[in-house]
């Protein structure tokens, strides 16, 4: 048949389009049919109730009865030899790469370490979470022997009282009570949801600790004390000489003084004593100023209040109910209140004035 010449021409089939269409079809059908079980790999880590997935558990999931004998959980001066599990807890407002690098330097078997983080739900917290997750992914996807046993990231269910995390704002006296109460809640939330049945030690490590001896955990554990605190220092550049120097940073580790008790006795029920402010001279013996000889690293001093920058606690102390009071407890709050509460439960705190950990230097204007 004769076909007239004209604009109408048979369009050639584009095989690329066809094949893409076919592949898409395959995917759509596949995801439809496998919905729920394997289709949400990206989503899964984010959802809170992922683990016992409700729908599937209705049908097949029957969790076994798990038994934990806490009588067999040892807490000894030789944690590595006895394969004791350590929980490292960090309330984090900002992520510092130096913190993570230092954490990776710790010479404790990674398969015994569980990490727990809690971050506020604000812009800053989101940024920190992203940065933290990137680092975690890098580590946990690496060689199996370098992976941590497990890592738990939590987001706070309450708002932090201050919008600014600047050093100057953070350390203002009137802001301290609200800030530390919120910090206590974060610490408690983190602690009581991550403390496992087999945990032997809990190491509290602030997110601005950038340098510790790599044997931190075993060194502190070797003292066999229920609560033990190293001395926290801060490194800075001396503006006059231009040389790096160190100065004490954490003033919450102290021995009580009669003056402080007198102040406490005159206080209203909701007031708290704060350390390190000239308006309130307590004359407590601060561990920050007890450091003398570098070589006597293992010198111990008894303490009545502890700081939380780096703090190793036997899990039994927390299990007995010693928590970080978010309210004035004997006029003390957060870690200092924790030391007091532990004492009421029969556990005493110890400090190591010559054992140093270094905190990140931030500008103080």
């Amino acid at each position: 048949m004769a076909r007239p010449m004209g604009p109408v021409r048979l369009r050639r089939t584009n095989y690329l389009t066809l094949s893409i269409g076919a592949i898409l079809c395959v995917f759509i059908i596949y995801f439809l049919s496998h919905n729920g079980s394997t289709s949400q790999p990206a989503n899964v880590t984010r959802s809170a109730t992922r683990k016992p997935s409700a729908k599937s558990s209705l049908i097949v999931e029957r969790p076994p009865v798990r038994r934990f004998n806490l009588n067999n959980v040892t807490i000894t001066p030789d944690p590595i030899g006895n394969r004791e599990a350590v929980l490292i807890l960090t309330p984090m407002a900002r992520f510092y790469q130096e913190y993570w690098d230092n954490l990776l330097k710790l010479q404790y078997p990674r398969e015994l370490i569980t990490l727990g983080f809690i971050l506020p739900k604000n812009k800053e917290g989101n940024a920190a979470t992203t940065a933290l997750q990137a680092q975690i992914t890098k580590t946990q996807k690496g060689p199996v022997k370098d992976r941590f046993r497990s890592i738990i990231i939590e987001r706070q269910d309450f708002d932090p009282p201050l919008t600014s995390q600047d050093e100057s704002e953070r350390h203002k006296m009137e802001n301290q009570k609200a800030r530390r109460a919120s910090m206590s809640r974060a610490r408690n939330s983190l602690l009581f949801t991550t403390l496992g049945a087999d945990t032997s030690w809990v190491l509290w490590l602030d997110s601005d600790i950038i340098e510790t001896p790599p044997t931190l955990i075993q060194d502190l554990a070797s003292h066999d004390k229920p609560i033990i605190v190293p001395n926290c220092y801060q490194r800075y550049i001396d503006s006059e000489t231009g040389k790096p120097r160190e100065r004490p940073y954490d003033f919450n580790s102290w021995q009580d003084s009669p003056t402080a008790q007198e102040i406490a006795s005159k206080m209203g029920p909701d007031e708290i004593i704060l350390e390190g402010y000239s308006e309130m001279a307590t004359y407590r013996a601060l561990m920050a100023y007890m450091a003398e000889k570098e070589d006597e690293k293992h010198l111990e001093v008894p303490l009545d209040g502890v700081g939380g920058t780096a703090l190793l606690v036997k899990a039994d102390v927390h299990r007995d109910g010693a928590m970080f009071p978010p309210f004035p407890f004997y006029h003390l709050i957060e870690t200092e209140g924790f030391a007091k509460m532990a004492r009421r439960l029969g556990w005493h705190a110890t400090g190591l004035p010559n054992y140093k950990v270094i905190s990140l230097y931030l500008y103080i204007v």
């Binding site: 790999p41 996807k141 706070q156 269910d157 004997y330």
Partner: protein, 465 residues
Amino acid sequence: MMPRHHSSGFSNGYPRNTNTFDISPHRFQPRASTPAARRRRNLLTRLGIIAVVIVLIWFFIRPGSGTFTSLFSLGLLGSSGDVLMDTVRYYDLSNVQGTARGWEREERILLCVPLRDAEPHLNMMFSHLRNFTYPHHLIDLAFLVSDSKDRTLEVLVEKLEALQASEDPKLPYGEISIIEKDFGQKVNQDVESRHGFAAQASRRKLMAQARNWLLSATLRPYHSWVYWRDVDVETAPFTILEDLMRHNKDVIVPNVWRPLPDWLGGEQPYDLNSWQESETALALADTLDEDAVIVEGYAEYATWRPHLAYLRDPYGDPDMEMEIDGVGGVSILAKARVFRSGVHFPAFSFEKHAETEGFGKVIPIFLILQTHADSGFRWLNEMEAERLAKEAEEKEKQEREKKVKEQFSDTNAQWEQDKTQIQNLAKEAQKEREAESQQGSSQDSKAAADKVGEKSNNNQFRVEA
């Protein structure tokens, strides 16, 4: 208009010239067949489509072939994500706040039961476990077995495994953990000795310790609620979890009663640990020393606190609420965030209370009845009907009557004994303190300072709505 197809000319209008050799350049012949190249391509496409269909069918027939499917479906991402998923968990705690209709939002409950020498009560407890109407897969069970001399642990494991393996898909619970821990408790848990006045303080502190251990080992970031239940509760409504949850309070307890024989009035308030603070009690607290515990329900400490247990109107609204400052531990429903924020059972005396009392909002008329030893925990509003239905229980009741008589007759003697014991204890404590004060005067001054602080602090464990 001129027709295009003339015999005299071409379709484009040129006249046909018969003189010239016509090769007809303006006409196209229809193709006889498709070219070989295109034919080959068509064949390939058809083969491709058939292959895809076969693969699809393969998926449907063998859904279990995970490696192959995941490899096909961007599984590369999935498999590496899997390794990460196993070790890294992300939780947003604001998703697990606890709401009034938790079962619709699939909120998980942690059900905690402390156990000690509780073998006789296990049957009863498991009948309750089977009957809860709250979706079982949303409930995680946690048991703490401590210092038991009987077969509590073995029986518990046996029964739990049977429960998990049961035919009915609605019966098995979520995660089940059994914690074993011996605290070396010396106090006996018999009715007499466990409610003897002298034993109360140290018993309470040990119980608090056990509760803290249980909670700290089993509370997870995905729990929205925590429900504390004593093993010896005999009758409670199956819907108790939903009923309590609907009030949407931070901490809520029902009223606990125990039935008595009719001649004693039918029932008796049992759990006296749920109370509102009274002026008398505050004043009393000031006179006691730091480690003392005020225990409710004993003549030695007349606190004049309004008790939940006595504040019941038999014809009242079961959903009526009242605020309380201390709660009893028989049946507590609390939002998990309460525990996350640090509230716990003080194993030291805090403001003179220990265990669950140091920890409290309540509905007094919401009733559960409890007896300790052997029977009769009931839902009061249904009591009349039940009484008729359960005539078989009458025999038991008579036995109980005897027991109650015995119990009641020697309580006075018991109190006398306790009193002397307490006095002795106090004397000893006095001596110790004197010895201590010689050792370290700083300790004493601290105690003094603490005491002043303590008085004003009494609201700390009051949980605000």
